[in-house]
């Protein structure tokens, strides 16, 4: 990995430079040289004017404008003017503006850290601790209009680790990526993955882990919650005793139990990976029995079979548009899933579970129109407002409404046209992707790379290095990170 670093830093530089450049424009003052530090006096307001605005909440505004101040949307409509004479103006004539795309199932930035698979209950581990801000996938997703993501633990465990709901604020310190008021969440998983039926090549001598059946998955979850209820009771007893007894000894803290107690108290959302109808019903019934809420079912490829029960539990469905047939439990998956669930009153989102797919969720949403005839606005909601609702962040993002964060994407054509190109991606009023700037930077990046390679070779003594070995070239990365298998 050592040799890749210069290129990584180069990428990051480019991303930073691109966004810094793009923030300026209009009448804003800047001093900048290619690749050097950029000093920017950001305008207080940004006006996106004369675009077709797909609000995702209240229809389409033709020839509409959006005024942004302090990262928030302050006005939306046909006749909006900036107050600040120095406001940055983005002309969106002929273009389409949508809310930032939200991916309700992502493992971006946690490559190699997706699964703590040694136990089937790992509620103590936290995705927020392991996000790699240098993952090249993040910039690529911004280039596909994706602004926010539910970064989840993998699906190896019945009860997996804690999630992180982030905005892809590339270039900012990673702790600022986490949406501060997003409710905490956790990953559950049902079916083939937690029973490890597709994991091959276990190291020699490794025993198969419990559970190995769907029955065992249910018992694993039930036992964990019964334990958590005992733990909760012991703490309540201690709290009561503490009031009268200064010498009361606190119970020992258990981080796994803490997380489960938060679920029982409604302070932590359950996002459960699942496929088959039987396991979906199992979890919904179990949640009734144990007294917790299932916020979303993830993948939920047979959700269309039990959508009624999901709706009755106010459980959302976050699915793929058209994945199927990659394993037995995905064999009854149909592309009509989203439409059927929605028709029964389930809040539905389309997610990626893939660094590749996360770049084109806007097109995935169009498939809900193709398969099952969902309306245009409802389809758009499936990658904007609906995932925001499912993640409990809809007060601040997910639609183009006054008071919400200015998380926006400008597309060259209608976002559901296969010929569209996302051109500008904005988070809280700041530009994080600008296609024009990206294109301009490419030649400079090429030169910088050639220069770095030349220097590397010189340091190693000639083009073939000291021991006749060629300098290492960056190796291809796997196509995507996914927990689908």
């Amino acid at each position: 990995m050592k040799k890749i670093k210069p290129i990584l830093s180069m990428l990051l530089t480019s991303a930073l430079t691109a966004s810094a450049f793009a923030q300026t424009g209009g009448n804003a003052k800047l001093t900048a040289g290619a690749g050097s530090a950029v000093a920017v006096t950001a305008p207080s307001e940004t006006l996106i004017r004369n675009g077709t605005i797909l609000t995702a909440s209240h229809g389409t505004i033709n020839n509409g404008s959006i005024l942004i101040r302090d990262g928030k949307i302050v006005e939306v409509g046909p006749n909006v003017k900036a107050r600040d004479p120095n406001a940055r103006v983005i002309d969106a004539t002929g273009k389409y503006v949508t809310p930032g795309i939200i991916d309700c199932h992502s493992h971006t930035g946690v490559e190699g850290n997706v699964n703590e698979g040694s136990l089937s209950v790992t509620a103590m581990v936290r995705i927020r601790d392991v996000i790699d801000p240098y993952s090249p996938s993040i910039y690529r997703e911004l280039a596909g209009g994706t602004t926010a993501a539910n970064v989840l633990h993998g699906s190896a465990n019945s009860i997996g680790g804690q999630n992180a709901v982030v905005k892809w604020k590339i270039g900012k310190p990673v702790d600022q990526w986490i949406i501060p008021d997003a409710p905490q969440g956790i990953k559950f998983a049902l079916g083939e993955n937690p029973k490890r039926s597709n994991s091959q090549g276990l190291p020699a001598g490794t025993a198969r882990r419990y559970p190995a059946t769907r029955m065992g998955v249910e018992e694993t979850i039930r036992e964990a919650f019964i334990q958590a209820k005992d733990y909760m009771r012991v703490w309540h007893e201690y709290e009561a005793k503490k009031a009268t007894d200064k010498n009361a000894i606190p119970p020992r803290r258990d981080l796994t139990m803490d997380a489960l107690v938060e679920i029982l108290e409604g302070k932590r959302m359950v996002h459960s990976h699942c496929y088959r109808d039987d396991e979906i019903l199992m979890l919904l019934n179990l949640s009734d029995e144990l007294g917790f809420h299932v916020q979303t079912l993830q993948h939920v490829l047979e959700g269309y079979k039990v959508a009624k029960e999901m709706a009755a539990h106010k459980t959302g469905g976050s699915t793929f548009s058209d994945w199927w047939a990659y394993k037995l439990e995905a064999y009854d998956a149909i592309p009509y899933n989203a439409a059927l669930m929605a028709s029964r009153g389930v809040i539905v989102s389309m997610n990626s579970d893939s660094d590749e797919l996360a770049r084109r969720l806007y097109l995935e949403a169009a498939k809900a129109m193709k398969y099952g005839g969902v309306s245009e606005e409802e389809a758009l909601r499936m990658v904007t407002l609906n995932p925001a609702i499912q993640l409990g962040i809809d007060k601040r993002t997910g639609s183009i409404d006054v008071g919400k964060d200015a998380d926006l994407v400008i597309f060259s054509q209608h976002p559901f046209s296969v010929y569209t190109v996302p051109e500008l991606t904005i988070i809280e009023g700041e530009v994080y992707f600008d296609r024009n700037e990206d294109l301009k930077q490419r030649e400079a990046l090429k030169r910088e790379k050639a220069d770095l390679i030349k220097r590397e070779r010189e340091q190693r003594g000639g083009p073939r290095g000291p021991r006749g070995e060629r300098p290492e070239e960056p190796q291809p990365r796997p196509n995507e990170t996914s927990d689908k298998l």
């Binding site: 890749i4 290129i7 990584l8 180069m10 990428l11 090249p136 996938s137 910039y139 690529r140 280039a143 083939e192 597709n198 090549g201 269309y304 079979k305 009624k308 058209d322 199927w324 047939a325 990659y326 394993k327 037995l328 995905a330 064999y331 149909i334 592309p335 009509y336 059927l340 028709s343 660094d355 590749e356 770049r359 084109r360 097109l363 169009a366 498939k367 129109m369 193709k370 398969y371 099952g372 559901f416 046209s417 296969v418 010929y419 569209t420 190109v421 990206d438 490419r442 990046l445 006749g468 070995e469 060629r470 290492e472 070239e473 960056p474 190796q475 291809p476 990365r477 995507e480 298998l485």
Partner: protein, 445 residues
């Protein structure tokens, strides 16, 4: 029974022709074809090879396109489809898939994609295509009527077939078999098309070591092909002079004889710039009729491909760039750059379950620089030309097989609905495992 009477003569003639073909031609396959006559009228006809006909008629008879044009009259007794507001396009062609060879990815018993061993030249997929695979109907209802389906394992993976996505038996489906010999280019690490899987999995090896292994594999490949040439020469010699000693039969080498003689195309699955360069040098040296498949970095060697006249079956387009510092849209712009350089391209999904998304691979390439018309050609007439079936499919022309789709718009657009799919002149029901489950659960009280 009027219909039967009217079609008696053509049917008999047709049967006789088919019998004749079966006896006289080396082709082992007879396509299933419809016997109905259809007239699709008031349609916008996108012929692909000729101009768009704004308000025309396509007549289908005996599985073929009998007539196409603006002033075509409706044959008596034809089933008339009024296509007011609709368009007719040629059926789409997915130029490299695994359709029919796999059902459920993780269930080994349902997967017949990869054989064991370096040289599998003698295996041919036409014996393992499952006509009832649910993938077939799922794919065709989205407008894909024809696909190349190929084996994947080893250095020489075996022989592919081009199939129409309808038929009771594999032989009824096959349009051409063998279609091509498939080679996985050995590379320095990575998966298929990034080099074979050498050595124990997970073992870290230096780049130098991997490169040496790669060079060894390329030499191995050359040796196999030279052996095949020698084997063929020996066979010819003995045919002329039976006093020569009879050589032991080697089916693998025998299968490669048309390859080394430039009679059978070789599809080389290769992706990275460095490997593409090596593969171009290899096919030049070995005088092969080559097609590149995959070609993720083909845009970096577009001029060389053009100079050698090597076509590229691009795809999947919907994938992330190979290197961290590649432009984010490298996989999307690849096809456009190749086309601009004059390289003949076609698209592929390299898949089975997701072959239905072929039009969106072409569409994404069009969003990022490939002209729309070229994108459409690259899923119709170009794959037909590259794969040697352009005399039969790939455009709407009189005499071609009636593989057509009727749509309410541009077939590369996701929101477009397919209204009819004709394969071999049969009006295929627009049902699949997916629509059946949809209807079933839509009706749940």
């Amino acid at each position: 029974m009027k219909t039967v009477k009217r079609f008696l003569t053509p049917t008999v003639a047709c049967a006789a022709a088919l019998l004749f073909a079966a006896i006289c031609s080396p082709a082992r396959f007879v396509s299933a074809q419809g016997s109905e006559t259809y007239a699709i009228r008031n349609a916008r006809i996108v012929t692909v090879t000729g101009p768009v006909i704004e308000n025309g008629t396509v007549v289908i008879s005996n599985g073929k396109i009998a007539a196409v044009g603006a002033g075509v009259s409706l044959p008596a007794g034809a089933k008339v489809i009024d296509a007011q507001g609709l368009s007719v396009y040629p059926g789409l062609i997915d130029a490299d898939t695994e359709i029919g060879l796999t059902e459920i990815g993780s269930v080994a018993g349902s997967v017949d994609v990869s054989e064991i061993g370096d040289n599998n030249a003698n295996i041919h997929v036409d014996v393992a295509i499952r006509p009832d695979s649910s993938h077939i109907a799922v794919t065709r209802v989205n407008g894909i009527t024809t696909a190349l389906t190929a084996p994947r394992g080893g250095l020489i993976a075996g022989q592919s077939a081009i199939i129409n996505l309808d038929g009771w038996t594999p032989r009824e489906m096959v349009l051409k078999s063998p279609a091509a010999m498939h080679i996985n280019w050995p590379g320095a690490g990575g998966g298929r098309g990034f080099g074979g899987e050498f050595g124990p999995a997970g073992q870290q090896r230096s780049v130098t070591e991997l490169r040496r292994e790669q060079e060894k594999q390329i030499e191995n490949l050359k040796k196999i092909l030279r052996d095949a040439a020698a084997y063929g020469a020996a066979m010819d010699a003995r045919r002329k002079d039976t006093s020569l000693p009879k050589q032991n039969v080697d089916l693998k080498l025998e299968a490669l004889i048309p390859v080394v003689r430039g009679q059978m195309p070789v599809v080389i699955n290769v992706n990275l710039e460095r490997d593409l360069k090596a593969a171009i040098a290899f096919v030049t040296e070995m005088k092969l009729k080559a097609i590149i498949s995959g070609g993720i970095e083909a845009y970096k060697v577009a001029d060389q491909l053009k100079a050698k006249n090597i076509p590229v079956i691009v795809g999947p387009v919907l994938r992330v760039p190979v290197h961290e510092d590649d432009p984010y849209d490298a996989a999307f712009t690849n096809a456009g750059i190749l086309a601009k350089a004059g390289v003949k391209i076609a698209f592929q999904t390299n898949d089975s379950a997701y072959s239905r998304n072929l039009p969106y691979h072409a569409g994404m390439a069009a969003a990022f620089g490939l002209p729309k018309e070229e994108a459409l050609k690259a899923v119709t007439i170009y794959p037909a030309e590259i794969l040697g079936i352009a005399d039969r499919v790939g455009s709407i022309e009189q005499g071609k097989i009636a593989n057509l789709i009727v749509t309410d718009g541009d077939p590369l657009e996701i929101r477009t609905q397919i209204k009819h799919v004709f394969i071999n002149g049969r009006d295929i029901p627009l049902t699949s495992r997916h629509t059946e489950l949809y209807e079933k659960y839509k009706a749940r009280p």
